[in-house]
């Protein structure tokens, strides 16, 4: 089984639109995993029928039993996250370390499991989709990404499917690292802006850091052909394949509004997406 992750560094470069089209092209051979658990959008295109829901418990949270509390303030003094004020826990600041419980002489602090989100196993027209929902303001998105990926891998092996196709989140931090760890190939979707170019170099630094093979798709390349060329040169210099160059095409938003993968609209961009899929398959089979 192979795992392909689509990431970007900068947000809004078109990851999810590309993944939705790859999912349509990979119909019947892949399990799709939406690992952008913070802001998952793939379901808006793939229209999953939910088959199974699993609860996700992220980190534990501290609760102070005011009856037992002797107001010694030790918990507040030891909390390094500023999560305790007036002996009350700010649930959005608490990182669940348990130091307050450790130092409390009156056993007034409990660490409780808290429901932080859900993972779903669903059917779509293109194959199984594993996706998730992180409840507002919850932490541990990396842990939920790991859960989604594990469910997707298990599903792929039980169904005998060869590929897990991962939609990642923007950035380079915890959820991105969780989306990338152990994949066979990372496709980085970028665009010709100075921001995206800067972010591309950082995300490629991260894939290098973890020894992950990567290739690049320059989306909306015609918005600034000069910067697009610059990105191509940058990729060539570091030996990274530019697997596709896609033009700015209003069909992408049109498809999003219709809730279908853009490849299905049968516009010029569809052929380019098919060529990208072919190229990715070649790279994965190496």
């Amino acid at each position: 089984m192979k795992q392909l992750a689509v990431v970007s560094g900068k947000g809004g470069t078109g990851k999810t639109s590309v993944v939705a089209s790859l999912a349509a092209l990979a119909r019947g051979v892949a399990v799709i995993a939406d690992c952008d658990v913070d802001a998952p959008d793939l379901h808006l295109i793939l229209h999953p029928q939910i088959r199974e829901r699993r609860e996700f418990f992220g980190i534990k949270r501290a609760v102070i039993d005011q009856q037992r509390c002797t107001k010694c303030m030790l918990c507040q003094d030891h909390c390094r996250f500023g999560a305790i004020a007036d002996l009350k826990i700010d649930q959005l600041a608490c990182e669940g370390c348990g130091v307050c419980k450790l130092v409390c002489p009156a056993q007034a602090v409990e660490m409780i499991d808290r429901l932080s989100g859900y993972a779903y196993i669903s059917d779509t027209r293109y194959g199984p989709l594993v996706h998730a929902e992180l409840l507002p303001g919850e932490e541990a998105s990396g842990k939920l990404v790991a859960m989604v990926r594990e469910l997707a891998r298990d599903l792929a092996s039980s169904l005998g499917l060869d590929l897990v196709l991962i939609d990642g989140s923007p950035g380079i931090g915890c959820p991105v690292i969780a989306s990338l760890s152990g994949v066979d190939l990372a496709l980085v979707v970028t665009e010709p802006t100075i921001s995206a170019e800067h972010d591309l170099e950082r995300i490629l630094g991260v894939t290098d850091h973890f020894g992950i093979q990567s290739c690049v798709c320059i989306n909306k390349y015609d918005l600034n052909p000069q910067t697009a060329r610059h990105i191509e040169e940058l990729c060539r210099a570091r030996g990274t394949d530019v697997a596709a160059k896609l033009p700015f095409d209003p069909a992408v938003v049109e498809a999003m509004v219709k809730g279908v993968p853009v490849v299905e609209l049968d516009r010029p961009i569809s052929d380019l997406l098919r060529a990208l899929w072919k190229r990715l398959r070649e790279q994965l089979s190496r």
Partner: protein, 277 residues
């Protein structure tokens, strides 16, 4: 006054708005809290760097001469950053939250805290604008200590905070304690879905908020219907325009290139000021 600029979905135009808003207000400070992918400083090519410092977090250092391999440290660690094996204790620094729990839990006082660098904080000046940004070290997972370090450099007066995308801990850390949050969205299904998630976080945090729709004219009208239904203020609209997209792609600030936008952003700041209780 600290105004945060957030979005939920990435690439809706947070940095476009944050840079334009900052340059439209005399002496406004710009804090870029998207420490994974900081971009705002790129729009100020004439910046003069004033500071580059390390953001350090505590990490356990184990004195193996004192360690009796009791396993108390790894039991106390909620983040699996310590593994007590029969002969040694493994430390996984990237997982450590620096809570100090292991130090407190060790009965032999065998654990001390060292420091490790997770990123850098930069401060620069460009014209009368103070710029601060953080840059997470490649391969590091936790963003919150660095975001906190950037936020700590907020000066009195007006500060604009450019936030990371998403809706989890990085966003929470960046918007915490700001006086107002302006959410930048686009009128597409993705933009609306993620806007709704971000608004839920802000409601939970009780931060006053309003919305700016960027790339107006693409997509559909559902974002506008949503805002009307929820009685959420639509404070500005920026139309989809090739000219604006090209300016952004070249690293130019909209409000500096097209003076009419400077006036609009100054008016936006005024409208925000009136919404802060």
């Amino acid at each position: 006054m600290i105004v945060s600029i957030a979005s939920g979905k990435g690439g809706t135009g947070k940095t476009l708005v944050a840079t334009s808003l900052a340059v439209s207000l005399p002496k406004a400070q710009l804090l870029d809290c998207d420490v994974e992918e900081p971009n705002a400083f790129l729009f100020f090519p004439n910046r003069k760097l004033l500071e580059r410092s390390e953001c350090q977090v505590p990490v356990p250092v184990i004195d193996m001469d004192r360690c009796v391999h009791c396993g108390s440290c790894s039991d106390a660690c909620a983040f699996n950053a310590l593994a007590a094996l029969p002969q040694e204790v493994l430390v996984f620094p990237e997982l450590c939250h620096g809570c100090g729990g292991c130090v407190l839990a060790c009965p032999e006082k065998a654990i001390k805290e060292g420091r490790r660098t997770v990123g850098h904080i930069f401060r620069a000046i460009s014209g009368d604008h103070d710029l601060v940004w953080g840059e997470l070290r490649l391969g590091e997972a936790r963003t919150t200590p660095l975001i906190r370090a950037v936020r700590e450099r907020a000066s009195p007066g007006i500060a604009i905070v450019d936030c990371p995308p998403g809706t989890s801990c990085s966003l929470v850390e960046a918007v915490r304690g700001t006086d107002f949050c302006l959410l930048v969205t686009e009128p597409t299904p993705f933009g609306l879905y993620d806007l709704d998630l971000a608004l839920k976080v802000l409601a939970k945090m009780e931060i006053p908020r309003g919305v700016l729709v960027n790339k107006g004219g693409i997509g559909d009208s559902k974002v506008y219907e949503y805002l009307e239904r929820r009685k959420i203020a639509l404070l500005m609209e920026i139309p989809m325009s090739r000219e604006i997209a090209e300016l952004y792609s070249r690293g130019l600030i909209l409000a500096e290139e097209i003076p009419a936008w400077r006036e609009r952003f100054a008016a936006l700041a005024e409208a925000i000021g009136e919404m802060i209780p």
